[in-house]
């Protein structure tokens, strides 16, 4: 796999263990959703990747060039969780200032986004609303023609129109320039819509990683019926939710394997449907 970002066994302790051997990779040219409950370690990981925080152990490889460096930063577009901008500049000055650092600046895209994102160029950055700050931060990150976009909750505070424009923008960037996108979000629907790869984290480590298609195909929501009340719940289904004779659970086995296992346990399959990402997420978050 051609990898744009490789995170290997990162360990970070604040007052608690924030990262506990966090490892994952992001394939080049993919849109990767970075998911996990609050406090799972998403922002800490992204800050370490960017070189804004240091890990006690582990390593990061950005675009095959090792840990983040000034040279690599040129090829990265980053939108942090807290979208604070230079306080003594107006929005327009902020754009001009940023442009100067990036020789590959995309002026045409800048013009399009200024229009679509409706950014008031003459307003002071500190006076912008939360949503406008986010839109400006996104413009600054995307117009530099980066090879890797790292976006920490980019749709937070955006209205549906602006977040749709962002989704469209990311799709266009991947189609046109083979850019790689890693974005964290709490909106599973955004991941389901545009991501082709995902990393799910919990308690400071990656608990599920892979192509979205594979994860979708692997996870089935299965309902089974136990023949009668005398039958004990088979140990294999111990984590499943029970309601009388009915058991509901998430399975990641192939249907044939599953059927065999059920037959051996003497249970009847009521139905098996593809699990939604939400169900997969909740199952992982509960662990």
């Amino acid at each position: 796999m051609n990898t744009a970002l490789k995170v290997d066994n990162l360990v970070k302790t604040y007052d608690h263990r924030a990262l506990d051997r966090m490892s994952f990779r992001v394939p080049r040219g993919s849109i990767c959703g970075f998911l996990g409950p609050n406090g799972a370690g998403k922002t800490t990981t992204l800050r370490i990747v960017m070189g804004f925080a240091f890990a006690e152990a582990g390593s990061v490889d950005v675009l095959g060039g090792g840990a983040m460096s000034p040279q690599l930063l040129q090829r990265i577009g980053f939108v942090p969780e807290v979208k604070e901008l230079y306080p003594f500049a107006r929005a327009g000055e902020m754009i001009r200032l940023t442009r100067g650092f990036y020789p590959r600046w995309d002026y045409q895209l800048e013009a399009e986004l200024l229009r679509d994102f409706d950014i008031p160029l003459r307003s002071w950055c500190t006076k912008l609303s939360k949503g406008t700050k986010t839109r400006l931060a996104l413009l600054l990150a995307v117009c530099r023609n980066a090879d890797l976009l790292i976006l920490d909750e980019p749709t937070e505070g955006l209205d549906p129109v602006a977040s749709d424009r962002l989704m469209r923008l990311l799709v266009q960037q991947v189609a046109d320039r083979q850019v790689t996108v890693l974005f964290s979000t709490h909106q599973l629907s955004e991941v389901e819509q545009i991501a082709d790869y995902m990393v799910m984290v919990n308690h400071g480590r990656a608990v599920l990683e892979g192509s979205l298609d594979e994860i979708r195909q692997r996870h089935q929501r299965v309902r089974i019926v136990i023949d009668n009340d005398r039958v004990e719940v088979p140990a294999a289904f111990s984590g499943w939710r029970r309601d009388g004779r009915f058991l509901t659970g998430l399975s990641h086995e192939a249907p044939a394997v599953l059927a065999e296992r059920f037959a051996a346990a003497g249970v009847t399959v009521l139905d098996a449907e593809p699990a939604t990402l939400k169900e997969v997420f909740l199952a992982q978050a509960e662990k």
Binding site: S30, R168, Q172, Q193, I194, P255
Partner: protein, 129 residues
């Protein structure tokens, strides 16, 4: 746009695209030689990942549904097995009979739909192996 996706359904999006093209060909909505929209256009219009669209197109080419001509785009294959209109008519009466049997068993529309979809998904996965 011939495509319509449901990202929340749990069914991989590339399979949804493939099923829609297959259905459009079988129902005659897409004819042999007809051009499909390009990957970039589908990705943009549907706001979905271009890699996913590309994967669907590759699989459809592999299955003989479409032909990819480099630089020119994707076209509905000329000699795929198009079912006769009579076959579709016969199929329809089979489905109608099945539905009334299932209704007699006490299943409602939702239950029937779920049953059919879960069977189809299994078939789809089996044939992909």
């Amino acid at each position: 746009m011939i495509f319509r996706i449901n990202p929340q359904s749990g069914v991989p999006l590339y399979l949804q695209l493939i099923e829609q093209v297959r259905h459009a060909i079988e129902s005659g909505a897409l004819r042999p030689g007809e051009q499909l929209p390009g990957i970039r256009k589908v990705a943009e219009d549907m706001v979905m990942n271009p890699n996913t669209v590309a994967k669907a197109y590759r699989e459809m080419e592999h299955a003989g549904l479409i032909v990819l001509r480099h630089g020119a785009g994707a076209f509905v294959a000329g000699h795929h097995p198009v079912p006769e209109t009579r076959a579709v008519q016969r199929a329809r009466s089979v489905v109608q009979r099945a539905i009334s049997t299932l209704r007699d068993l006490g299943l409602d529309a939702g239950a029937i739909r779920r049953l059919v979809e879960s069977e189809l998904d299994h078939r789809l996965e089996e044939t992909r192996k």
